[in-house]
């Protein structure tokens, strides 16, 4: 006697290949999807409008400090939004000064400065202030002393940076790690309350940062994919079909695991094995 025919199971190593194949195929088929059938996240324009209003409130030729401290793992989620914000500020004639208070942030900032330089942004319009050591202590010192050591290398338009963060017209905080919008509100907004702060963060930080928007300590916040879709405009972000394929694969795994859990079987036998 046997227990009946055993269902053949795919080997664990095949799942990552199937996943990659599905995603690659979806990218190739992307142009064939009729417009409007799939959308990334159904844009929510309210957050984007607040950020645009904050940008509109800037004086002529403003000096904007961009605090680049995202997390390398979640930066892809907000990358298009950050680039759209930098482009909008440049279009408004802003001088951009990029600074980082974390090593991860410095890596991303270096990449973005290279991209801006390749796009034609000269050193008179975009300054790289580099990495400031000391975490929150360094941030507090920067309130009155930012860029002094690079003062000789900076274009004349950035001479105001010698007066620290307080001398800028706005700070755009790109968050994702410990030093993010909350730190800026705690350490900088309390010392320079009139300085407008605008933040872009990945979705996981939304519950932490959203109260500062409601209290008025942040002038604008882009924190979800819906906000980002409205701010960055159509065509930005992940292609909808690729996104759909990835999400369906994940959903299939979740449903399969839950069904096996309910039936009391081997819950994860045909799911991919964690690499050693």
């Amino acid at each position: 006697m046997t227990d009946g025919p055993r269902r053949r199971q795919l080997p664990g190593w095949l799942w990552p290949l199937l996943l990659l194949g599905t995603l690659a195929l979806s990218m190739l088929l992307e142009p064939a999807v009729p417009g409007g059938l799939l959308e990334v996240a159904n844009p929510d324009a309210s957050a984007a409008e607040r950020v645009s209003d904050a940008f509109d409130g800037l004086p002529d030729d403003p000096l904007v400090l961009v605090a680049m401290d995202p997390d390398l793992g979640t930066y892809p989620e907000i990358r298009d939004t950050v680039r759209a914000a930098l482009d909008q500020l440049r279009t408004r004639g802003a001088l951009l000064a990029l600074v980082s208070y974390t090593m991860e942030g410095r890596a991303v900032a270096a990449a973005e400065v290279e991209r801006l330089r390749a796009a034609g942004a000269s050193a008179d319009r975009v300054a790289d202030l580099g990495f400031v050591a000391g975490a929150e202590a360094g941030l507090v010192l920067s309130v009155t002393d930012l860029g002094a050591r690079e003062g000789g290398d900076l274009a004349s338009g950035f001479s105001l940076l010698g007066g620290g963060i307080a001398a800028t017209d706005m700070v755009l905080v790109v968050g994702g790690v410990d030093i993010g919008p909350r730190t800026w509100v705690e350490q900088v907004a309390t010392r320079v309350p009139e300085l407008p702060l605008v933040a872009i963060v990945p979705t996981f930080m939304q519950p932490e940062v959203a109260p500062y928007l409601r209290s008025g300590q942040l002038q604008g916040l882009i924190a979800t994919v819906r906000d980002a879709a409205a701010f960055s405009g159509p065509g930005a972000g992940a292609p909808p079909l690729g996104l759909l394929a990835g999400m369906l694969v994940a959903l299939a795994f979740v449903v399969r695991a839950l069904a096996a859990f309910r039936q009391g079987g081997d819950a994860g036998s045909d799911l991919p094995e964690e690499p050693a």
Binding site: A107, D128, A137, P211, A257, L271
Partner: protein
């Protein structure tokens, strides 16, 4: 003695926060610069320890020799690029290229594996038949379904429900945790400042 130093420094920073006085501001600035120097020294010590550890592994033939060699070569390349005569340090184009063209994409590629690793973790969690894992996966499944990128009124309603889930239940739990942590931190800091506990720590 350590508790006294903590109390004095803490009170100095607190008073400087509410009183505008050049002498006080200068003293606080000096303390903050000391903190920055300490952080830099800690980072330097960490880097040296890493070099010693992997250099030792490489010489003695222990551990992952290839990994140690790649790590030491990477550190050497970054140091040379940042310290060669005439280099602009961290702003040098070579350093920027190393970071932007090699370091950032490599780390991003590692993080891109998170999707597969999460599925692997899910497999292991379910193999343990953990009820908490079941609840977590059910919630994840619902949120993924709600965020599927469909257009039109149905898509709008689905993403609206997902947004509500983020702002109300998840936001409430998260803020409750933050408020709890803040209260405990404030009480602990006050106890240290008042020398109620930890005087000999």
């Amino acid at each position: 003695m350590p508790a006294t130093i903590v109390v004095v420094i803490g009170l100095l920073l607190l008073v400087n926060f509410v009183v505008i006085n050049p002498l006080l501001a200068g003293t606080t600035g000096a303390v903050l610069r000391l903190v920055v120097l300490l952080a830099a020294a800690a980072a330097l010590a960490g880097g040296l320890a890493l070099v010693l550890r992997h250099g030792s592994d490489l010489v003695r033939g222990h551990g992952d020799r290839l990994g140690s060699a790649v790590l030491l070569a990477g550190m050497a390349a970054m140091l040379v690029a940042g310290l060669y005569p005439g280099s602009q340090g961290a702003a040098d184009p070579v350093v920027r290229w190393l970071v932007a063209a090699l370091l950032a994409p490599l780390i991003a590629a590692l993080f891109a594996m998170l999707f597969v690793l999460l599925l692997g973790a899910m497999r292991q969690g379910m193999a343990l038949r953990s009820r908490q894992m079941g609840v977590m996966l059910a919630a994840a499944g619902v949120v993924i379904a709600l965020l599927l990128p469909f257009g039109g009124a149905a898509g709008e309603w689905m993403s609206g429900v997902a947004g509500w889930a983020l702002e109300v239940p998840i936001g409430g739990v998260f803020r409750g945790l933050l408020i709890g942590v803040a209260i405990v931190t404030a009480v602990h800091a006050a106890r240290i400042l008042l020398a109620v506990e930890g005087a000999d720590d």
